[in-house]
């Protein structure tokens, strides 16, 4: 009797190769743009060239005259169907096609459907729009100035450009703590606008079949079930006649959660024409019109005691929301989870105020690899932590050690109400310091300084809330943030698993099978995973916010356990003993008193269809819906060493050490891939990447010459380490990890550069730390702001 070897069958902890890669690396994926339906027409969107203007007239006659043009859709026509505007996921409205004004450069004004995409584009060029330009607003300061032009004059009762106000914490208690402080550290900074920029742009093929009344939409959605619900609610189509299919997706990063005008237009055009209509966004369209991230201004303070303890925190945040409040975030908090800031530190009291501003920029505010503004929160946290340590003249590692929540404090309630439940924060920090050789580096740095070289080290430690939600606090359109899995085990013991999540590169097809393996002992290779088709997958809320493993992954465990429970009955029947006498080991039930007498899970599967006991229904299928009791709280410690060239401001990354505690790792290779990707994005954001605007509201970053993605050449190497503190409430102890490095990483890079400049008096340089900004800081000794507008 040899036991099933869990790693051998690709179970928990196996660095199993990604099964989906076999088709991706051969160019055999099936993306939305690969799908071609008979009789399919092509749609192109006409976008506004200006940021803020009243539309005086739209003349479409020349477009209609082009042979091959089938439909020219304007806002006015959409309005006849009550579809010129649509609700957003943040309870605002957003224009589908502009009727009154355009409110950002790149806004959708009209669309053309033609026999081929070239003709559709010709059609767009033939449309004549007369604009009356209005002053453009590109930052919250301009937006909130008393004489600012009103952007949302479409909204009844809206008299200014304030989009929301929000507040949390204990103001009086915080004020008292600040009054007692030995020292107060203050920091102001701007986290620049960035864009998730997936390689595959957004797109859809809407196919309304007039004969059956069924609408099928193939589209690039991270959350197909939400889209189905939204289409049913907004377009008032019957939900059973809507099928949303998300085929392979070439990266999402949060960009493919919202509902975009292009999707809606393709659906409307297909209904009007009774033909399949394909829309494929181009790169510039994606960069200038779809969900951005960040664009947030912080001004905050820490109250400090002489011995290094933090007594209280407070900050105000202004968010630049763009023209419509369409944050795709499911929490009941207006500014997402920004109040998870400082959750890893033991700070008794705090107070946060926040305000959103409408501006003439693209809307979105989505999470670019981030759970609803935790990236900004953790960035500000780690930047002001570094500043506070400097103000106290304390070593930044020691300052963290003094303030981090201790292991024996869990479960720990933060001043803003979150419950962090597990972690070994100091151990992670010490492991990181050890790995990078902290003490030795500090000596090297001093010696180098004597020779005119500027070295610096940056630390970032943080825990973040991943895996929305729990149903108390998180919902979309009233639908709670659970997730689901359905498992069907076939007679020969092979299985198909479907979940309500949707992989965009995360490797669900590989990882989910490993969870089934771990629970049932079926080899991972015998489990096929399918997601993204609302006609076949169980209802789920999709993949973003690192929620797949915490929520859908938990559902996979739970459904497997249901299957195991039924298989136990079958095993008892086959072994002719009572159920209580049956024991489980991976892949096999056996008789407790006679361990050699056993049946495999595969034998149970066959019995489920061919030899079931009386009274037991046939089949070995089930599903599970999982509502997580809490978020998961991974912890990370990132350390970066840089060298700054003081003559040019160019900085090179010499080392990056990462210690991640994301609980139990299902597939360590995939986890490392996620961390590597996240650190790459962190490096990009700190070093080169930003989406900015000039004074007229022109987007500077509408292409890959201006919006930079790092290549393998300049991306530094990463040294990865792990600590495992299992999540106490997740069935297999896993926590989210997809976002940690992108969330916690940027501050480590910025802190490192500022450490190299520690003798200059410079406290802040806004990201990205472009060479000219670093040079300016060195030569002037002053902070450098990166807030738009920029000169072009």
């Amino acid at each position: 009797m040899t036991r099933v070897d869990e790693i051998g069958i690709g179970g928990l902890g196996a660095s199993r190769r990604r099964v989906e890669d076999a088709r991706f690396i051969r160019g055999c994926g099936n993306y939305t743009d690969d799908i071609k339906l008979p009789g399919m027409l092509h749609m192109e969107v006409l976008r506004s060239p200006v940021a803020h203007a009243r539309i005086k007239s739209i003349d479409t006659s020349a477009a209609w005259a082009i042979p091959g043009v089938r439909l020219v859709l304007t806002g006015e026509m959409a309005a006849q169907r009550n579809l010129a505007w649509m609700p957003t996921l943040s309870y605002d409205t957003q224009a589908v096609l502009a009727t009154d004004k355009v409110r950002f450069q790149g806004q959708e004004v009209a669309c053309v459907v033609a026999d081929d995409p070239y003709t559709a584009k010709d059609g767009c060029e033939a449309i004549v729009v007369e604009y009356e330009q209005l002053p453009a607003i590109v930052n919250p300061t301009q937006a909130l100035a008393p004489d600012a032009p009103l952007i949302r004059d479409d909204k009844e009762g809206q008299t200014d450009n304030v989009c929301y106000r929000w507040e949390v914490g204990d103001k009086a208690g915080t004020d008292r703590a600040f009054a007692r402080a030995d020292k107060v550290t203050r920091l102001k900074l701007h986290y620049p606008r960035s864009h998730p920029s997936p390689i595959e742009c957004c797109g859809s093929i809407a196919n309304y079949d007039p004969a059956t009344g069924k609408l099928t939409v193939y589209m690039t959605s991270q959350a197909p079930h939400i889209i189905r619900a939204a289409v049913a609610l907004v377009a008032e189509l019957p939900e059973h006649l809507i099928r949303i299919v998300s085929p392979d997706i070439g990266g999402g990063f949060g960009n493919k959660v919202p509902v975009y005008p292009g999707y809606v237009c393709s659906i409307l055009c297909s209904i009007l024409l009774g033909k399949p209509v394909k829309w494929t966004e181009d790169k510039s369209g994606n960069l200038i019109s779809t969900g951005f991230a960040r664009d947030m201004y912080f001004d905050g303070e820490l109250a400090l005691r002489e011995d290094g303890r933090i007594l209280a925190l407070r900050f105000h945040a202004d968010t630049d929301q763009g023209a419509f409040f369409s944050d795709a975030q499911p929490s009941k908090f207006k500014i997402g989870l920004v109040h998870s800031a400082f959750a890893c530190y033991d700070i008794p009291v705090g107070h946060i105020t926040a305000r959103g501003a409408y501006t003439n920029k693209a809307p979105g505010g989505v999470a670019y690899r981030c759970s609803f503004r935790v990236t900004e929160a953790m960035f500000f946290q780690e930047r002001i932590i570094a500043a506070a340590a400097a103000d106290l003249g304390m070593d930044p590692a020691e300052f963290r050690r003094v303030n981090l929540v201790r292991d024996d404090q869990f479960p720990y309630r933060t001043p803003f109400g979150f419950l962090t439940d597990s972690g070994q924060y100091r151990r992670c920090l010490d492991l990181g310091l050890d790995a990078i050789g902290y003490e030795d580096f500090l000596k090297d740095k001093e010696e180098a300084r004597l020779r005119g070289r500027r070295l610096g080290i940056g630390i970032s430690t943080m825990t973040e809330p991943l895996g929305a939600g729990n149903s108390r606090e998180y919902d979309i359109l009233g639908i709670k943030m659970f997730d689901s899995a359905e498992l069907r085990v076939h007679p020969t013991g092979k299985a198909i698993l479907r979940t309500g999540a949707k992989s965009q590169g995360q490797g669900h097809e590989t990882t989910w099978a490993q969870i089934v393996s771990h629970e049932l002992g079926i080899p991972a290779a015998d489990v096929v995973v399918e997601e993204g088709d609302t006609d076949t997958a169980p209802f789920g809320m999709g993949t973003y916010a690192s929620r797949s493993t915490p929520v859908a992954g938990a559902a996979v465990s739970m459904v497997s356990r249901k299957i195991r429970a039924k298989a136990r009955k079958l095993a008892a029947h086959l072994l002719e003993v009572s159920e209580e006498d049956v024991e489980w080991e991976l892949g096999r039930f056996f008789v407790r008193s006679a361990p050699n007498r056993g049946v495999t899970i595969q034998e149970c599967a066959m019995a489920a269809y061919g030899n079931m006991p009386d009274g037991l229904e046939p089949g070995l299928e089930n599903n599970a819906y999982y509502d997580p009791p809490n978020l998961t709280w991974p912890f990370a410690c990132y350390l970066v060493i840089v060298e700054v060239d003081p003559e040019t401001g160019v900085w090179d990354v010499l080392r990056v050490v990462a210690v991640d505690d994301c609980g139990v790792r299902i597939n360590p290779m995939i986890v490392e891939g996620q961390i590597t990707g996240g650190l790459t994005e962190a490096y990009a954001m700190s070093n080169m990447q930003f989406m900015t605007f000039d004074a007229e509201g022109n987007c500077v970053g509408s292409n890959y010459l201006d919006y930079l993605l790092p290549t393998a050449w300049e991306t530094p190497g990463f040294e990865l380490h792990e600590v495992v503190t299992p999540c106490p409430h997740h069935p297999i102890g896993a926590k989210g990890v997809g976002e940690c490095a992108a969330v916690g990483g940027p501050a480590a890079f910025v802190n490192a550069v500022l450490d190299a400049l520690s003798d200059t008096g410079v406290r802040n340089i806004d990201m990205p730390l472009l060479p000219d900004r670093v040079w300016e800081a060195i030569t002037t000794g002053r902070d450098v702001s990166g807030a738009p507008p920029v000169k072009t």
Binding site: S284, E643, G649, V650, M688, E714, D772, T792
Partner: protein
């Protein structure tokens, strides 16, 4: 990105190409590596009626040293050919330094030096190299052939001196006399980026004294700039510290940068100065 309608011809000989260009004049555009033209056409920044693809024209892929010692670079010589060239050798250090800094490997596989000169992008690297080296362009048409110095070839941003019907068949670089010292320094935000600032330096010395000096700048003006005064102070010097500093100062003065999202005017000027100093007075870079 869908271009407007255009006609496409792929002539198989130079004569055929020239005939097409003669016939269509202004309406035709030559397609060489396509690394600038195709994006422009796809973005509809350019909508030529006819593309004359010269990639099937035989015998234009060369770069070679002529008997006279002049370096000749054919219209289909790709960036990558120069990157891995054994013709450039020690005699053309500025070119050897620039080639691997153009764009990224994918673009270098297709793009051409001559195409880059014709495109006349002020952020293009080759034009600076050619200005520093006193290069020339050979233009041919059905009517004949002429040789144009690069100083006159680039006439404005994205404008060159070619007449309708003319094809640039070759670029030329004169023979270096004396010991060549050359570098190309480029500040880019990442691989494949156009230069925030680029500096081409090509100096020839004889017994330690400078006999010829070329300095040209990328990305700091409406065109690539030949920093004539900065060149002049070097000639006759022994590349002593003071002269290098003066040359660097003059080069920075010749630059006409604009503040944009890549950097401020002051910063770009400062980098020109730093790069000229570093190029002429090579020492280990401060950053590793």
């Amino acid at each position: 990105m869908y271009p407007a309608r255009f006609r496409y011809e792929a002539p198989r000989s130079l004569d055929e190409a020239l005939a097409l260009l003669a016939e269509h004049g202004d309406e035709a555009k030559v397609l060489a590596g396509g690394q600038s033209l195709i994006p422009m056409v796809k973005l509809r920044f350019a909508s030529p009626e006819l593309l004359v693809d010269i990639n099937n024209v035989p015998g234009l892929g060369y770069h070679r040293e002529a008997a006279s010692g002049v370096l000749e670079i054919g219209a289909l010589c790709r960036h990558v050919d120069l990157e891995f060239s054994d013709v450039l050798g020690d005699l053309r250090p500025t070119m050897a330094a620039a080639a691997p800094l153009i764009a990224d490997p994918i673009v270098r596989n297709r793009g051409t030096l001559v195409g880059s000169l014709c495109h006349a992008d002020p952020q293009g690297d080759w034009a600076s190299v050619m200005l520093a080296l006193d290069g020339e362009v050979v233009a041919v048409s059905a009517a004949g052939r002429r040789v144009i110095p690069v100083t006159e070839f680039v006439t404005g941003p994205f404008q060159n001196a070619l007449r309708p019907g003319e094809l640039a068949v070759e670029a030329r670089v004169p023979v270096p006399r004396g010991v060549p010292l050359g570098r190309y320094l480029k500040l880019e935000r990442r691989v494949g980026d156009f230069a925030t600032v680029g500096v081409a330096v090509a100096v020839e010395t004889s017994d330690g004294t400078v006999t010829r000096a070329g300095i040209a700048l990328t990305g700091v003006g409406a065109n690539n700039i030949k920093a004539v005064d900065a060149e002049r102070v070097l000639v006759g010097s022994t590349l002593d510290r003071a002269t290098i500093a003066e040359s660097a100062r003059l080069a920075a003065e010749a630059a006409k940068p604009r503040t944009d999202h890549r950097g401020s005017e002051a910063y770009k000027r400062h980098v020109v100065r730093t790069f000229v100093e570093r190029a002429l007075h090579p020492r280990p870079a401060v950053a590793a």
